[in-house]
Symmetry: C2
Subunit: 99 residues, 2 copies
Amino acid sequence: MPRGSGRATLAPAGMQPPAQLGLCAACHGANGHARQPDIPDLAGQKADYLDKAMRDYASGVRNVPLMRGALGAIDPAQMRALADWYAAQPVCLPQVRRP
Amino acid sequence: MPRGSGRATLAPAGMQPPAQLGLCAACHGANGHARQPDIPDLAGQKADYLDKAMRDYASGVRNVPLMRGALGAIDPAQMRALADWYAAQPVCLPQVRRP
């Protein structure tokens, strides 16, 4: 279900987490909901945008050493898999009902 | 209501759109839901991250001429107001019930 649709949904059934997810999850969360205020949430973001942002970090168009280091060993296909994974993550998490 | 809370909410009542919103809305939408696949949604994103991203575009850390041009005449306080506006926008839009 695309972003902005109003319903919390889970990532498409059977979608396998990319092999390199751990690298991103350390800051962005495996589900794309980052905890720190200066780290972006990636859940439900546009896949094409995420893909381009990663390429810009790797090439230096976005001159952020931490991201360049993180993406240094990741090839374009792996970047695309990470972009697709995060784009598929639900933006709104189902609220936990407290007893 | 912070992002990821599971309920669609409207921006805080009485929050005035920043004067420069039109400049951003052309691509990102006034509500932060962009139409094009390679333009990021900004609704509900972390305000600190949005603020830093704008400063990076303006300084060239993010070397994207279009964004540098758009932000050229915007001062830090105005950037912060734009960041706060988009961070307050609902991530999940209420679904339109069709008759």
